[in-house]
Symmetry: C2
Subunit: 497 residues, 2 copies
Amino acid sequence: MLEERIRFKSLMDKVTDPDTACRHIQDGTNVFISGFTAGYPKLIPKALVRRAEAGERFKINLFAGASTGDAVDGVLAQAGLVAWRRPYMSNRIMRKAINQARIRFKDDHLSRLSAQVRDGGLGEAHVAVVEAAGITEKGHLIPTMSVGNTPTYVREAQKIIIEISSEPTALEGIHDIYIPEDPPYRMPIPIYRAGDRIGKPFIEMDPDKVVAILSSQEEDSCAVFNKPGEAPRKIAEHILDFVAHEIRKDRMPPGLPWQSGVGDVANAVLSGFVEDDFFQCIDIYSEVLQDAVLDLIDLGKVKAASGSAMTLSHRARERFFNELYRYREKIVLRPVEISNSPEVVRRLGVIAINTAIEVDIYGQVNSTHLMGSQLMNGIGGSGDFIRNGAVSFIVTPSTAKGGKISAIVPMVSHVDHSEHSVDVVVTEYGLVDTRPLTPRQVAEAVIKKCAHPDYRDLLWDYYQRAIRTSGGHEPHILSDAFAFHERYMATGDMRVG
Amino acid sequence: MLEERIRFKSLMDKVTDPDTACRHIQDGTNVFISGFTAGYPKLIPKALVRRAEAGERFKINLFAGASTGDAVDGVLAQAGLVAWRRPYMSNRIMRKAINQARIRFKDDHLSRLSAQVRDGGLGEAHVAVVEAAGITEKGHLIPTMSVGNTPTYVREAQKIIIEISSEPTALEGIHDIYIPEDPPYRMPIPIYRAGDRIGKPFIEMDPDKVVAILSSQEEDSCAVFNKPGEAPRKIAEHILDFVAHEIRKDRMPPGLPWQSGVGDVANAVLSGFVEDDFFQCIDIYSEVLQDAVLDLIDLGKVKAASGSAMTLSHRARERFFNELYRYREKIVLRPVEISNSPEVVRRLGVIAINTAIEVDIYGQVNSTHLMGSQLMNGIGGSGDFIRNGAVSFIVTPSTAKGGKISAIVPMVSHVDHSEHSVDVVVTEYGLVDTRPLTPRQVAEAVIKKCAHPDYRDLLWDYYQRAIRTSGGHEPHILSDAFAFHERYMATGDMRVG
C-alpha cells in the first residue's frame, strides 16, 4: 500500500513512526504544515501531544494554509504547545487561548503569507509537516484535499516530514502548482479563465530534505452543512436576482466567475444556483470549495471550479471520492496565493460574496472581532476578494443570538473592510447597492432595507441625531456610536429593554 | 498656433468660444473631465459660472480623474453648480459643501472608477471636457499633465469638448495610454518594469464626437511644497534606514519600485533619497509625481518614474518644460487604472508610502474623515497601493494643530485601511514594523516608538485598562475608545486639561 504511493523508492528508507518523526520538532521549532480547512497532518500533532502529556515542556510556532481541524489547532492549543499561530484559525480552544494572549496570533491576508515566508518574514522554516496522497517517481509531492501554502513551505523547509494519507490516489491531477517569482522580477500569473492550469500537478520537492515518512489512516474532520435556513436562502435569492438584473440591464457582463466565502451562508448562496434558471453554467474562482459546488457540477451548471481547498460534508466527501475521475475534470486546486491573487481576481472580475460579523449603516464591515476586542476566526481571504473583485457582496443574517444582536449597527466595533471596497450589503430583508450612493444615502437604504425591523427605529434615531449633532459626510456621534454594543454587554440584548 | 496643434484639419471647424461650447452642458448633464491634480479644463468651468452669475439655474454631475484645482472644484462649488462629484477632491469650498450634504460625493478607490464608467455605473457619459496639448493627424488626443480617467471618458462620451492648452507640445510622447479589456476577457496588463510602455502616446478619439474646441492660455495652479520640516525629514530617514536594513538582511530584495502619496510629507520622503548613499538608482511606480522626482532625475537617481499625473511647484514646472526632452525619457504618465492597478502593484512589489490623518494603536488607519464625520479629501489611490504593495508604510507626524491633536489614538474615528493591510507605522519619533507582531505587541510598540511623548501615558493608560476590562486579541473599551476625540471636540485639545 505505502509502496504504491511512494514511487520514489529511495524514500522508503525514511518510513518511520510518528513518535520518532516528531523528535525533529523541539522547543522553538517553526513548524510549517499543510492544511487549509482540510489536508492537514494528523499524526504529528498527536505525537507532540503525547510528549506533552508525558511531561515534556516545549512550544512550537505553527503556520498553516489557513484553519485546520480540531486534530491540529484543537489538540495543540489544548496541550499548550503553541507559541505563535498564523495566518488564520477557526478552532474554539485555540480562539480562547488567542483571546487570552496565551497564544500569539497575527491575522494575515491569506494571499500574502507565502511571499512573507519566502522573504524570511516568518523566521526560518525549520520543519514542514505535510499530508500527501503520494510521492511521484521523481520525488515530488501529490497533495490531498488542499494546497494552501504547502508548495512554498516544502520549498523553504530545512526538513520535511510527510504523512502519506490513505485518501484516493486518484486525487493526482486535481492540483495545479505554480509558485510565482517574487518581485521585482515577477511575470504575469497566466490565468485567463477560472479553470486554466498553469503549473504542475505536484509540489516540487528536494527528496534529500525528507527526514521522515509516516503512513496515515486518519481522515479530515468533515464539515457539517445545515440545510439552508430561511435567511441564507433569502440572501441567495437577493444576490442572484440582483446579478441577473444587472446583466439584463447591461451593467454587468455575463460570465464573471463567482467566489463565495466559507460556511453555511456561503454554501447556501451557491446552492441558490441549483434552482435558478438564468445562470446556466458558471465559473467558480474561489478559495474553499464546499458541498454546493459538487451539486452544481452534478447538474452540469459548472464550467470550472477553482479553489485552494475542499471542505466537504461526510456524504459529499464519499460522493467526491467515488467519482473523482469526473469531478477532477471540473475542479482545480491551487496555492492560496494564486486562488486569492489580487492580480487574477481583478483580471477575471470575480463576483465576491463574503460574510460579516456586523456591518454598519455606512457599509463598513467587521469580519473578525466580537464587540471590538474578541477575535472570532480571522480575516482569511475575504480582503483578497472584497478589495479586488468586480463586485463585492457582504452578506449576513440581520440578527444573531435569537434577535439579541443586530448585524446592522451604527458603527462597527472593528473594521476589516472599508465602505470603499464593499459594493452591496445583503441580509434576508433586502439588498443595497452602495455604489451609486453617498454615505448618507447608504445609511438610509441599509436601515430601511437590510436591518431587522426590531432595530430600524433605533438605527434611524441614531442616524438622525448624528446628522443634527455632527453633520458631515458620514455623520457619527462618537460618544454614542457603540451604544448597541455597550447595551449588549450590559444586558445581553442590543434592543432597548 | 492653434493650427499647429490641431493636426487633424477638419476639426478646425469646431473651434469656438467657451460660452458657445458650454451650451452643450445643461441641467443634469453628466460631465466627465480630464484632470488629476493637473491637466483639468479651465475655460468651460468659468463659462458655466458666468451662466450661473447671469441667473441661470442648473446643476451638473462632475467626474474627474481625482482632484482638480480651484479653477474647477472651487469655482463650480462656490457657484452651487455641482450636484454630484466623484471620485476625489481636495478643495476647501467643495469640501464644505460635501460635508453639508449640499454636494453629493462618493469616495472611490481610484483604480476602479474607469471600469465603473465603462459598465455604465456612473450613468451616461453625456459630455467629456478635456484639456489637450494637441490633436494628432489621425484625430487622437495628446493629453497635458495628467491622464487619470481621460482615455475612458473620451471613449465613452457622447460629446467631447477640447481645451487646447498652450503647454509645450513636447509633452507628446510622455503618455502611455492603454485601456484594459474588461472582465471576464481581460488579459494581463503587460507591465514588468516601472518604465514599460504598453500603449499609445495618445488617447484614441472619434473626431465625430467633438462638438467644440477652445484655445486656452490658462495654466494649472501650481503646488506649493514647503521645505521639508523636521518631522517629514525624520520620517523619511526612518523609512530609508529601515528599507536599507531589510535589504542588507536579505529580507527584502533590492530594486522594488517606490510609490509615495500626495503632499508635503510624501514629497519629503522622496527628497530623502537625494542625500542617501545606499539607494543609487530607483524605480518609481506611483500615482502623482511631484517636485522631488525631478530632483532625483537630475541627480541620475531615477531609472524610471511612472505615474498618472504631475503636480509641480512653479519653479519645478519651468524646469520641467524647459528640459522636457530629457525628463520625457524617464517619465511615463498612464491612466490611473494602470498606475494604480492591483495587478501591477502586486507584481512589481511596490513599496507604498501613504499618509494618514490618524492611526490607532493597533495600526488601523483613517485617511479621510476628521473626528469620524467630516470628510477631508478622500481615499484616492491609497487603498490601491496599501492593499497590494509589497510593503506598506503609513506615515504621519505624531501630532497636528500644535500638539493639540495626536495622530496616534486609541481607536481611529474612521477606518479606511485595516491593520491587515498596513505593514509599517512611522512618525518622526520612530517606526514600527507590525508584520511580525500580535496586535498587543503592535500597541505597545506604537505607543512607545511612534506616539508623541505628551500622549504616551494617556495611550498606555487606555491600553492597560482595555486589557484589564475587555481583554481579547485586540483589547478595546468601546465606551472610552473615542475619549481623545471627544476631549478635542469639547476642549480643543486631546490632552487632559
